[in-house]
Each structure stands twice: as C-alpha cells, then as structure tokens.
C-alpha cells in the first residue's frame, strides 16, 4: 500500500464516525464542566474556610481577665487603668504597680486570680499580656491626639471591650505576626462597625471623612508621613 492510499483511508474513516460521536461529546463537556465547578468550589472552600484557619494561629493569654467587674469598681472609666501619663503618652496595658494595691493577696476563688497573684505579683514579674490592638512599629499613633484632642471614645476603635467578662482568644497572622484584630475577623476585610478593623485604610477613611489635618504635627509633612514618620 502506498502512502497516499493509506491517508485516503484514514480520512474516510473519520468522516464515517462523525455523526455517531455527537452525543458522546456532549457527555464529555458535562464532565469537563463538572470539573470546572469542582475546582471552583474547592478553591472557594480553600480561600474562604481553610485559608483563614491556616493563616491565623492562636495564643493563650497568661490568664483571663474580666473587664466588666473592674469597670464597676472604678470611677474614671477606661482611663482609670489605661491612663495617660504626665507627658501625654498612653500607658497601654496596666503594669503590676497599678494592680498590686488590690491584688497583693488572692481574693475570691477564681483560678485566674490565683495565677496572677502567685506567678506574677509574688515574684513581681510583669504580666506578658498579648495586645490585641498593637500596631506595627512603623506606625506612629498617638492616643492623646485621638482621645484628648479629638474627643473620641475608646469604643470607636476598640469596641465595647469594657463590658466583656472574659478575654477573647488572641489570634495572630502567621506570616506577619500581627494580631488578627488589625485586619479584622472578617477575612474579606468587610466591616460593619468602626472597631472591626484597624488597617491603614480604616484610619484614613475616618481622617478623610472628618477632614483631619492631612499632615504630621511633628514633621509638617503630608500624606504617608501623618502616621509613618
């Protein structure tokens, strides 16, 4: 058989089978589409459900703390413990010196109180609290400007933590090691309340809305330099 004859035979065979395979092809398209949908669903699942679980890890606070019961006992709200120092800087999480007056000895039967007094107060070791709202060191943030200057409530950024009876779980980003509270609980970055997120966009949103001076007080430079000195 010559080469040309062989070719002609192949062409005729293809022509004969064409009509019969149409239904089979539709079937294949379906399967292919199913694969598309499976791929789509798998990655949606991975992106929305698995990814946040992998991205964030949890750490235990040294012991639990009840903000509400303390709020009932103080006169000056949040600032009774989270106060401004004389030089205007913000004290952040309270130090032992503030707690020791009341907590020199174990009071009540709570396990957390026992841990606090026995492990920290007795040895005068500061409690290594994990700070939910800790901004990275490249950010210059002044509590005084916001609370004393602009008269904002603590809750605007921190939510109603003052009425909580126990501490939320501390989660942190395994890549950046930032607290999850910076990006917010919603992995898509959506927020309902002003205190849901603390990213740069959230700061600038409020600054723009309220027409805050768009330059740094210290350096008199604008834009990025308002917060990044």
């Amino acid at each position: 058989m010559s080469a040309s004859e062989e070719k002609a035979k192949e062409v005729s065979a293809e022509a004969a089978g064409h009509g019969a395979d149409t239904s089979k092809e539709q079937n294949t398209t379906g399967i292919v589409f199913i694969f598309f949908v499976v791929g789509l669903a798998a990655s949606l699942l991975a992106g929305w459900i698995v990814f946040p679980k992998v991205l964030y890890s949890q750490k235990q606070q040294p012991f639990d703390f009840n903000h509400q019961s303390h709020m009932e006992m103080v006169d000056n709200g949040c600032q009774s413990c989270h106060f401004f120092r004389e030089d205007g800087t913000f004290s952040g999480a309270p130090k032992l010196a503030q707690c020791i007056d009341c907590h020199e000895y174990v009071q009540g039967g709570s396990e957390d109180e026992t841990i606090f007094v026995e492990q920290y107060v007795a040895n005068y070791h500061e409690v290594p609290w994990l700070i939910y709202a800790k901004q990275p060191p490249c950010v210059f943030f002044s509590h005084a400007a916001h609370v004393n200057g602009a008269g904002m409530d603590c809750g605007t950024c921190h939510g109603d933590i003052g009425n909580s009876t126990s501490l939320p779980v501390y989660e942190y980003n395994v890549i950046t090691s930032y607290s999850r509270n910076i990006w917010g609980k919603n992995i898509a970055g959506f927020k309902k309340n002003t205190w849901d997120r603390m990213k740069m966009d959230d700061c600038s949103e409020c600054h723009q809305k309220n027409d805050v001076k768009q330059y740094s007080v210290q350096t008199e430079k604008g834009a990025c330099f308002v917060c990044h000195k």
Binding site: T28, I31, V32, F33, F35, F36, V37, V38, G39, L40, A41, A42, S43, L44, A46, G47, W48, F51, L55, R85, D87, T89, S91, G92, P136, P137, C138, N173, I175, T176, S177, Y178, W183, I187, A188, G189
Partner: protein
C-alpha cells in the same frame, strides 16, 4: 469516567477562577508585602514609660551633668543635663555613647580568677564571697609578714569618698602607697601651691574672660571639662579673642581667632617674652603687682635679661613683631587670661611653664579675680574620725612611698605614678607584693607601656576592680568588677578647671546589669574580713551608708538636684596662703638660695628622650578618641577620620617638606622608632604641622576589650612615648620624644 486532559484543565481553570473570588490572593499579597517590609525577626525596642533621670558623668574628670532617658527601666539614651553649671545641656561624644559601656559585651560580668598564665585570657568565674576571702587572705598574709607597705593602690579617683576609703584602708593597713594617674591638674596644683601657698585646685573663670592666650591648651580637644570649654570658648570669642600657640594646626587652632605655630616645648619662653614686653612697656597692673605680690624684682630681672622678644623669637620660632603685638593686645584687654597644658592636658608638664603662665596672669592682675585664674578650695565634706593605727601600720607608714612622692627629692608631690615602674624595674625602692587597681587602666594609659608591663610582671599579685576587660584587668590575677558609672553612687567634687566649689552626686539610674559590686562596698567588706584595727576603721554597713553619713544633710539635696555649686564663692585677690601672704613671683618654698632660679618662672629645656637631630614626635588628642580609663566606644571609632586611623593603621601627620626628605608620600608606610619603642604607621602629609615635627594621635591601639572597642585598631602612642621628670615636682614633663622615621 475517564479523566481526560480537558477535565484537568477545566478543574484548574475553575480553581483559578474560584480562588480569585476569595480573599486569599489579596490577603496573601498584603501579608507578604508586610512581611518583607517588616521582617518579624528585626528587633523592636519595647515601648513603655519615658523618664529622664539626672546624674553625673564620671567617664572623665569633666563632671558634666547627664540626663539618662529610660523607657520603663531600660536606659536608652544619654543627653546633657539642662541648666547644669558645667555643661548646660551639652554633651561630648564619649558621654553620649556611654550606654555602650552599660550593655557592652566587654564587661566583666562577675568576679574572675585567673587560671592560665598572666595575660593569657583564661579565667574562672568565682563567687563574691570567695573573691573577697581570697583578697583578704592575701592582704592579711602580706601584713602578717611585717611589710604592710608592700601593697599599693592605683586609683582613678583623686578626690571623694572612693579615694578616701582607699587612703583610709591603706593607712590602717600600713601602706603609704596611694597613687593616681597624673594630669595637668597636678602640675597646676603644684604651681598654685608654690606661688600662692594654695592647697586647692585651679579654676579658670573662662566664661568671663574676653582675651585668651592658650599655650597649647586644647580647648576643643578635651582640655579641662570638655563640654564647658567648647561653650566657654564660644562665649569668649563673642566678646573678644582666643589666640592659640601650638606646633600643630589642631581643631582648637583652626577654630580660634589666631593660630601661632611654635617650636614644641618652648611655650614657657614665649610666656616669658610676652611678660618682657608687658614689663618693658610698663603695661602691667601696677596696683596688683605692688600690693599683692612679692619677688617681682627678681622675676623682672630674669625676664628683662633673658627673654627679649628677639632672643625668644629664636627659641620659639615666633616672629619678634608678633610677640610684641600679642603682648600689647593681651595687656590692653579688659579681661585677659593665659592658660597652658597641651591637648587635653593628659601629661602633667613642666611646673616652670605653668609658673611662667601664672606670672603672666599676675602681670595683668587677673589672679583670683573675674575672668582669671582662681584657686578653689578642696571640698571639706569628708570628716571621718581618725582611725586607730596599730604598730604594724605605724611601722609600714614610716617606710616612705614606693614612687618617691613626698620624699626629699620631690616633697611637693602627692603621687608620682609615672615614676612607679622605674622604681620597681630599677629596684630603687622596696618591691610591691600586691597591687590594687581601681577605676584606672595604667597598662594602657601610662607612657612607656613596656616598662609598665615589666614592672607589673614583678608584682606577684595584681587585683583589678575594673568593670571592663581592659588591658590592666587582662593582666590581673583577680578581677572584682565594679558597677559602671550609671549603676552606682559616687560623690564628685569640683571638676577639672571649674572655678567654683562644686559637689555632685552620681546615683544609680539603672539596676546593675551583671553580678558586679560597688568598689566602696568591696573595700568595706575587705576591711571586715581582714579584721582587727582595719575592720574597726570601717564601721559602715555599706558604701551607701558611708556616703549618706559623709554627705549629711547634703545627701537629700544632691539626690534631688544632682549638683550643688557655691555660686557666691569669690577668692581673694589680695591675700594668699603663702608664707609671705602674697602671690610669690619667687616661690620661697623652693628657692632656698638667692642665686637659684628654681623658684622663679623661667624656660628650661629639660629635654626629651632621644638623640638630638632626630625628628620630634608629639602626641595629639582629638574629641573622637578617649585616652583615659574609659576607652573609646564603638560609636566614637565610627567617627574617627581616616587621617587619624586608616583601617588598622595609626596615621601620623608629617609636614610635606619632611616627607620629601624621607622619600615618603601620602599613604606611605613608615616605621617610627623612639628610645622607648617602635611602631608601624601610615603617613599623611599635613601642612598644619611644623617641618621636623611628627604628630601622632593618642587613644588608639587597645588590646583588651573586644574588636568593636578598637582592639588592634592603630598603635598605642604609649608604646613610643617616654617620661621625663620635672625637676621640682617629679611629675612627667615629657611633651614629646625624639623619633626616627624610616620608610617601611
């Protein structure tokens, strides 16, 4: 169902489309960008409460007030203390980088005992109890052998309670050998004593002067209290003028109004020539000279006979007309003052030179008056009861000092540390069995290093109290590390060249970083361990208790405000403590015969070591290098010019003319050889130095500490510098040394 390639691709497309509908890529991009911009392993200093605590810097004798900035309890910065009488908010580079001593890895972290050979660097950590027991046993043995004089203390503290405790310890123990590193202050004090009978320290009221003749004093190189001198020289220049006589265009010479190059070592002759013009033209303050001084006639005769500007022009190389012009300007100024002491004044110098300069001040009537030279009484707050001395102690104290200070030859000297190695090496005195070194690093700072090392090798027991692994600590047998200055209490009396009596209190601003102990406490514990009359003399529980008791009601004041100055103090220009009650142009204390000129200011070429005809090597100082017990910090070494230190090599300054003679070019290597030693150096050509004179920086070439503190960086100038005894005081008067320079 067969999984085709199309199925797989479809799955992949679906997955790709799906992933873009999730936050994953966007969140991951954000996180990765944060991660790369802020590596989590980059250390971030913890935030906290910012506080400032004021104390005194004791790294040099300047006595500046400092404010230590702390975040919570961690010291993070040192600034000058605002409104402090000495430095008024200013700070020098050494003071500013002081935290590197606090956190440096070169600290001695606990008591150490040598286990290898001396200087080998093999140590064993021991407890404080053991360290104190070992030292007290050793000292007890020496005392029991009947030769208590055979221990000596080298103390960086000249005054105050630490020096007081050491002296008291030696006294009850039975040794007269309390030695301190000497400086220009010692020579100034000797000159003040000889001419005025004053037993105090010298103060220069520079802030109120308006015309300063500086005979080599490095006002911008660390002379006196460095920060104060920076500020005061600016003040003077706002009102008047500063003229600098110096063989080299130093920073001071470059910044003042006029630089007059002078042949090194001839400053006294120039001072005498200026006096000649002032006396010849009757421009001196007659009222003061007639009423408040004695011996003017004898001085005048010498000045007129031997020091005409013409004669002196030849000695000093300063043109005659310039001498006359400067003398006239000096005499006409309303508040003129003349000062001396080369560079930072590390070398005590010739007492006749200081007397010549003091005499010049007397001619313009500024002794003890505004803008002039004051004698400031020593603070009298240490009033401890005299201790009971046992027979052993009394016998030891009779033996005389190992360094010959206070001997017939040198009756005015309190301490002659620079003579100590010579006395030991040449066996001119009894040997020393135990040497205690506190707050000093003689193996680095003393001239003729090699002979110091040789002398130290002959001492069977060396105990260092240094906070750092410096050269002396390295060579010691035991180290009992002191707290560093930021961790301890210490009283600081009137700083070098300060004109009003002053008392400051250095206090701990941070907790000790390591297992160190205050040397004051160690002395008290040692005394208790030795027992007997020695223990009885130290009844205090601790150094803090001792200091508190000593300062009395000043303790609370000083703890609060750090410093106390007697602002109302003004010395009397018309009455002196000398035998004649006058300011003596002829010091009667030493001028026993009328033919002698030893008590009269004059110029005398008392020579320097080396063969005539060689080049003259002079040391120079710079603010960016520390030459004393406190070594230059890593921050300081970063700012040293490559004309001073080029990589590992010391750079010497040579006049282009001299270099041409020697066939040396910019950057050539050369060997510098003196009678004392030799060093390989790099050459830089400098028009700002006289031909035939070579200048070499001091403060380089450490071998203790660590690489960051300048180990192996340059050579220590003390390897090539020698000493010359001043004929009156016995202090080192070597302003330089003759040297050979050959191309390497």
């Amino acid at each position: 169902m067969k999984l085709s390639r199309r199925c797989f691709l479809s799955f992949a497309v679906g997955a790709a489309a799906g992933i873009n509908l999730t936050p994953l890529p966007w969140k991951l991009t954000d996180d990765l960008s944060i991660w790369t911009q802020m590596w989590p392993w980059t250390p971030v200093p913890p935030d906290g409460e910012y506080t400032f605590e004021n104390t005194v810097c004791t790294l040099c004798p300047g006595g500046c007030g400092i404010s230590v900035r702390k975040v919570d309890q961690r010291a993070v910065k040192i600034e000058g203390m605002k409104e402090h009488p000495v430095n008024n908010g200013g700070i020098c580079v050494l003071g500013a980088s002081g935290l590197q001593y606090l956190y440096g890895p070169f600290r001695v972290e606990s008591p150490m005992k040598r286990v290898g050979n001396r200087g080998e660097g093999k140590w064993k950590k021991i407890s404080w109890e053991r360290a104190i027991a070992e030292v007290s046993e050793k000292l007890g043995e020496i005392r029991a052998s009947g030769s208590p004089e055979k221990i000596a203390v080298i103390s960086g503290n000249r005054e105050g309670t630490i020096a007081g405790l050491w002296k008291r310890f030696l006294n009850v123990y039975g040794s007269p050998n309390f030695m301190t590193p000497a400086s220009i202050e010692d020579s100034y004090e000797a000159a003040l004593y000889l001419m005025q009978g004053a037993k105090g320290s010298v103060g220069i009221d520079l802030e109120n002067a308006n015309f300063v003749l500086s005979f080599g004093a490095g006002l911008l190189e660390g002379w006196g209290s460095p920060v104060r001198m920076f500020q005061a020289s600016v003040k003077v220049r706002e009102k008047g003028k500063v003229i600098q006589f110096e063989p080299r265009l130093s920073n001071t010479a470059a910044k003042v109004d006029k630089w007059v190059p002078i042949i090194p070592g001839t400053e006294a002759a120039l001072a005498m020539a200026i006096a000649h013009v002032i006396i010849r033209e009757k421009r001196y303050v007659k009222n003061f000279v007639d009423t408040a001084t004695s011996g003017f006639k004898a001085y005048q005769d010498i000045v007129i006979k031997d020091y005409s500007p013409e004669q002196v022009a030849e000695i000093t190389g300063v043109p005659e007309s310039l001498i006359v012009e400067i003398a006239r300007e000096f005499a006409e100024a309303s508040k003129p003052v003349a000062i001396c002491g080369r560079g930072e004044g590390r070398i005590p110098g010739n007492v006749h030179e200081i007397m010549a300069v003091l005499a010049l001040n007397a001619l313009v009537g500024n002794i003890n008056s505004e803008g002039g030279i004051w004698s400031v009484p020593k603070p009298g707050y240490i009033n401890w009861p005299d201790p009971d001395l046992d027979e052993n102690a009394l016998a030891g104290l009779q033996k005389g000092r190992v360094d010959s200070a206070g001997s017939e030859q040198y009756p005015f000297a309190k301490s002659l540390l620079d003579l100590f190695p010579k006395m030991i090496n040449e066996e001119k005195s009894y040997g020393i069995e135990a040497l205690l070194v506190s707050n000093a690093n003689p193996l680095f700072t003393m001239p003729d290093n090699e002979s110091v090392r040789k002398a130290f090798s002959k001492i069977p027991c060396i105990i260092s109290f240094s906070s750092f692994m410096d050269e002396t600590a390295q060579f010691a047998d035991l180290i009992l590390p002191n707290h560093i200055y930021l961790e301890r209490y210490e009283d600081v009396s009137t700083p070098c060249m300060f004109q009003k009596p002053m008392l400051s209190l250095a206090k701990p601003v941070v907790k000790p970083e390591h297992d160190t102990m205050h040397t004051g406490d160690v002395i008290i514990k040692l005394a208790a361990a030795i027992g007997g009359s020695i223990a009885d003399a130290f009844a205090w529980d601790s150094y803090e208790a001792c200091l508190k008791e000593t300062l009395g009601n000043q303790w609370d004041v000083l703890k609060k405000q750090v410093v106390k100055v007697d602002y109302g103090f003004a010395p009397n220009p018309w009455a002196y403590e000398s035998k004649t009650g006058k300011m003596e142009f002829v010091a009667t204390a030493i001028n026993k015969s009328p033919d002698s000129i030893i008590g009269i200011p004059h110029y005398e070429d008392n020579g320097i070591e080396g063969e005539a005809g060689n080049y003259i090597l002079i040391p120079y100082d710079t603010m960016s290098l520390s030459t004393g017990y406190a070594a230059s910090t890593p921050y300081m070494l970063k700012i040293v010019s490559d004309k001073v230190l080029y990589h590992e090599d010391t750079v010497i300054q040579v006049n282009p003319e001299t270099a041409l003679e020697l066939g040396l070019n910019e950057g050539s290597y050369a060997v510098l050889a003196t009678a004392v030693g030799e060093a390989r150096v790099k050459v830089t050509l400098y028009d700002g130095i006289m031909p035939n004179v070579i200048a070499m920086p001091s403060g380089l070439g450490h071998t203790g500490y660590d690489d960051y503190m300048g180990n192996g960086k340059g050579v220590n100038i003390n390897q090539v510098l020698g000493t010359v005894e001043d004929p009156v005081t016995g202090l080192n008067a070597a302003w330089g040394i003759r040297a050979k320079l050959t191309k390497a």
